[in-house]
Point group: C5
Chain length 356, copies 5
């Protein structure tokens, strides 16, 4: 998970605000547009070949329209689409600029919400971050994503069920559902992190290595990235709850309260993980000190036992002519015995100090 770089780049610095440029990595080959036209009675699902087909779908009385766009490279398409639904150029600029901070803006005729979707790519053990823009008015909702593949399939399935709440309600409930799906995925990500961090803790106890610290730091940053996505999301939902816009019905408010709670739970878990990771750094550093102590103990024990003994041996290796001990019959065994005693008592001393 790379921290999303700040939104504006050399490419659009200096341009007039509202000039449309796609800022961000190119993630999709082509732009795919799908539409769902639905009410409680019928549902039409359609992949659009050209953006102009929107015009027919748009504004059918009693029908809600959801248009989902995957891929942000073809600026022309997005500009056209924005034009059909009367989207402000600044909104479109934000849609195209994938360095947005999650936020919600109320443009009277529509509400614009941008958030970060995180998907766990289980195969490659990687987390994909996509920016999702949601624009919804009275009976239409536009969603923009950076690439195909998202967290919205369960919603599409529910849409097919004519008895579902989604079909019976307006696009504000659909907008809520999209946000809810994004938040639900954060729980999966957190669970994934939870397991990884548990592994890391195991490793920290068994054999702490520089790699362990690097991994801890990596998760700390991931938490920062995650937090940067979720904190503003909380404000976003809060703004949606308190907006005076007519676009959000009262019955939807109770659901927003629910997803707001989930966001708080996510933030809570992130903070807990951060605390855990921070204390893991402490444990890591202290384990380095412990290891150093262990190394030093070995050195000290060996040196402290043998250096005095070597000295004694050195003494009897001197070549003085008058060294009576050297002539003694039991001199050698006596010295060897003394040295053994000395060595053992040194060892016992260390044993007593619990160094061995």
């Amino acid at each position: 998970m790379k921290p999303s770089t700040p939104g504006r780049k050399q490419s659009n610095v200096g341009l007039a605000p509202g000039t449309l440029v796609h800022v961000g990595e190119k993630k999709a080959e082509k732009t795919v547009i799908k539409a769902w036209l639905y009410n409680s009675e019928k549902l039409i699902e359609k992949e659009l070949q050209t953006v102009d087909e929107c015009q027919e779908l748009k504004g059918q009385p009693g029908m809600n329209l959801w248009i989902n766009v995957d891929g942000l490279d073809q600026i022309g398409i997005i500009e056209k689409l924005g034009g059909y639904f009367g989207v402000h150029p600044l909104t479109l600029e934000d849609v195209l600029n994938t360095g947005q901070r999650p936020k919600m803006e109320d443009y009277d005729s529509y509400i614009y919400a941008v958030l970060k979707m995180m998907l766990l790519d289980e195969e490659r053990e990687e987390i994909l971050i996509d920016q999702v823009s949601i624009i919804f008015g009275t009976n239409y909702i536009l969603s923009f994503q950076e690439r195909e593949g998202d967290a919205f399939n369960p919603i599409r399935d529910r849409l097919k069920n004519s008895a579902s709440r989604l079909r019976k309600n307006g696009v504000d409930l659909l907008a809520y559902s999209l946000i809810d799906a994004v938040v639900d995925n954060y729980f999966l990500i957190l669970e994934h992190f939870g397991e990884e961090i548990e592994d890391l803790e195991e490793q920290l106890i068994v054999d702490p290595m520089p790699e362990t610290l690097k991994a801890i730091q990596k998760y700390k940053r991931d938490m920062i990235t995650l937090r940067r996505s979720v904190w503003p999301l909380r404000e976003l939902i809060n703004s949606l709850q308190r907006t005076e816009s007519q676009l959000i019905k009262e019955s939807t408010q109770i659901y927003l309260r629910d997803v707001y709670d989930h966001t708080i739970q996510v933030i809570d878990s992130i903070e807990a993980f951060r605390d855990i990771l921070s204390s893991m750094v402490d444990v890591y550093l202290s384990s380095l000190s412990h290891r150093m102590n262990d190394i030093m103990k070995v050195l000290t024990i060996i040196a402290t036992i043998f250096i005095p003994l070597t000295f004694i041996a050195g003494v009897y290796g001197m070549n003085f002519e008058y060294m009576p001990e050297l002539k003694w019959r039991w001199g050698y065994p006596a010295v060897m015995f003394a040295m053994t005693i000395l060595g053992i008592s040194m060892f016992l001393y260390f044993k007593k100090r619990r160094w061995v």
Copy 2:
């Protein structure tokens, strides 16, 4: 005490909100439902065999009804019970999902409060965390717990006493009493922690080991978990105090102020423990440094005394033909004497520097 994992799991990600799934560890074998029907004059206590028996008990004029459910596995029972009392599906979803953050929600016809009950299992030296959900309306109160065994027995005893305030007042006082019982138990947990931390401090002074640090970190996390339960509890009680709901009588407000104070005391103690634990990490790390210093001192003293002596012995072990000292009658004793003097003065030097 394991940090409660965030509430939503793979099992219910993607489901429509309001779909009932039990999220969390299975803690109870079966679901036990008990009911207390009371007013100031009489009290009927009953264990219900089927949830349908509720219907008879419900809505008896002038009587308050408390239904307590232990065990959240049998979703059908809970769904039925919720149905009888007009509980919103989102509330029931929260009741079943044991990863909730304590919160209070006002649904006009009833108030829903969810909190974390902590019980000290003295035998196994373990802290059990159960989620308690309380739903109360005008004359009924439903409580849901993850398993049998709770902190409410004193309340049940007081209920039996027809002179008690509980019997003379509405269910709002009972709801308060349940919350108060939960908060009271936090004090027991804190006392338990206080003693354990004192033991740990003792150990830190006597013989700091990696295990000591691990224990400190464990308690730090426990404090985080505890704080995560109590902080939102404070908001919960605050919301109850400021709610405009008719369900809480004014006479109950004064009691809520009391339990609010207790919550602040708990938070206060948690913060104090956290400060203490943090400074224990400092003490631990500095004690590692001290120990290293001690080890190094021993090594340095031994090496510094004997290495020069060994050198001298080495000099007189050289095989040069013309080394007049070697022929001297008192050469050997003189060298031995010189070496003794050197060793002793080295030792005194270290004594002066307070290394010995």
Copy 3:
């Protein structure tokens, strides 16, 4: 100064709220009740033998009544006293529970304030913490303390002076004076700490020992305890200032502003001490590193000088038959000279690197 343990204990967990139990250490042998009945003209001071004597003193028109109770063990007395003045059971529960956090509660007919009095026992170099409860209505004021001996003697002296403001004003000014006396004592405690910390700094520079760190940690905790007493005190006074209660006259407000300022000064000093103590930990840890460096330098110098010399001596101690140097007339002096030069240059090298 031991951090006051949280208020509720096993002894009263589970009891109905409002049940009177003395929670806390027993500090007084018996309960002493003293009364002062005063107005600007006369003053009656009296030690009450039984609590019933209060009834006569109570409610004398134009007279203010101050009843001071030392010792909280005899619950019966306190209950009776509370009864005479219409004190709510929850207030009495708080009076008896010495684990309270300072707070102020407005019960319409009276105001209840609880605070922590700290007295410096100069002989035993100890700080005594007592809980003081103040209850005052229109013309009476009750104060409860854990034991005899308090900070209120100057107030009692002032009461005797019929020209003093205390005598001319209502009990609200007396209540203020009691609070002011408690806050004034915090300054004495802080001064005491200031001196102790200065001593500690001296010691930190001269000879840092594990005991020094332990002392620093002790003072850090004392500061936490102190802060826990003073922070809520600030809120308490703030609440008194902003209360709409008729019990506090406007002329008293200006004095409350004054004691509020003092409280802020106390908090300020506590924070400054905390900062100082924190940086002392840094100094301590760095001094450990310094000392280690010093030890290592000694070892390194000795080893680095003598190990190569010992090697040279070892070379000429080898027993090869063909070692021409050994036969040379000036071999021995030459080697000795070379070794001396080597040793001196090593030493000069260390001198240059400022290790010596």
Copy 4:
């Protein structure tokens, strides 16, 4: 990037407020004044030779006037200019004092905004910080900079295009554009920092040196400097958004919201960089410990293997007359063999402990 020193200096301490003195480094040789007089139909661009030419340009009906001043040394010019447009002396004092904190002040007849422009000098790898003051009234806008060369050329180009929004709107949109240009440049600076920090991380892993730490500290300070520029900028824009001044039209508000978002993104990135840099210090310190461990391991292995062997050699170098081993035919090979075995088993022991 040097942290801008606080605004007032010895040179103007003690002067009456409103006395004009240029405080700050002299960055420009001479003062250059350029004017743009424009409406949707025509545009006159002119470099003024004397400040008096302003008077003619000023107040032409239906025309907007932008006067840009580069260089703050010639106080006379700025004083005159301020006089023509009725600028308060305190404002001019702030314009001249380049130690300002970004702020916005509403003087009824005009709005004064001061901000910090940061330009990346790519050649010299340096960041230039200039103070930009913007004063705008109903139809004029004055901008002051410390030197020539700024971030406003794209705006000048857009001004030349008669179809641009700038030409069709009032000076408030031009003021917004200037602020927007300044904020856009922060993104360039951040991108630059992002790359440098990435390089630093690489270096931290490959070969951490004291220089690395110095660089980390340098970037930390740069982040502080940057934050000190951007945080107040956020308030500035916020104030502009909420001002009740008639000078900012409603249509401009939506653009201010946009630049406000960008400012938040900048702050967000700064905080993320700060977190990253902080954890890099941790990594650096732990890498020092690791290296120490590595050094100690080498020393310990060598010493532990050879010190006992040297002792054995020393033993057989003793000159006792009765040492039977010395006479044995296979004594020497046996000892050599024993020493080899001992050395190898020591080595294997270290291998097992993963020290090698």
Copy 5:
């Protein structure tokens, strides 16, 4: 700069509030009173011999009166002066107590402001902290200082100039000017600190010593002291700006906004210095580790090279009878050669690991 000790001392603990006692160090020999009576037309400057002379000066219609008192020891004088101008006893108590926290109090008939003046004594490289109390009503202003010598001379000079704003306006502008002069001096102090800290950084790189750390800690504390003076000053000015008192004219408000900005700049710089000093502690600690690594490298290199060589020499110093190498003609040169090779390859190994 010593942190100002908290205001109340043993000397006035227990006294009735409003009792006048001078609390603080005695800094002045005697009390000097000077008066300025001025309006736009004339100015009378006078040193008063007795405080009674005030009465004549006081209340002259159309004239503003500034009385400045240096030295707080003679309580009688201050009490009298306070009496003449109707100053509340609590205000006088605060004037005399030099442990005040900067604050502003509105007593309807006058405004009381207390602040900390810091003067740099360039000779003794010391910072003098004096408490300045300012009391101003409709046409008089009293200022109290602890000793002679202040930052107000430029104001006195401006007063002499009949064309100055000071002469044309009321005492509120004079009060502002006094505060402004105090704040301006903070910039001088900060500049002084800036230079000292730069020197310290230099020293930290060249040769870090325990003294360096001590100096860093000293500056950290100075910053705390400074911050404790400036933070409440900010609130003070803020209160002056928002007061509804008639004593501050609207034309003065704009100047207060200016000095408020300066205060924020001072706070900003203090925070920046604190950040810098904190990171200097990190650099210091890491430099200790570096130095330790350097020491250990030297030890390890020497030991690792010579210990094996000494072992080899030891081997050929053994006295076995059958050691064929000893008899070889080229044994000695061969061993010497082998030892040289071994030593050099060791050295190259360390070179490769960049230890040399």
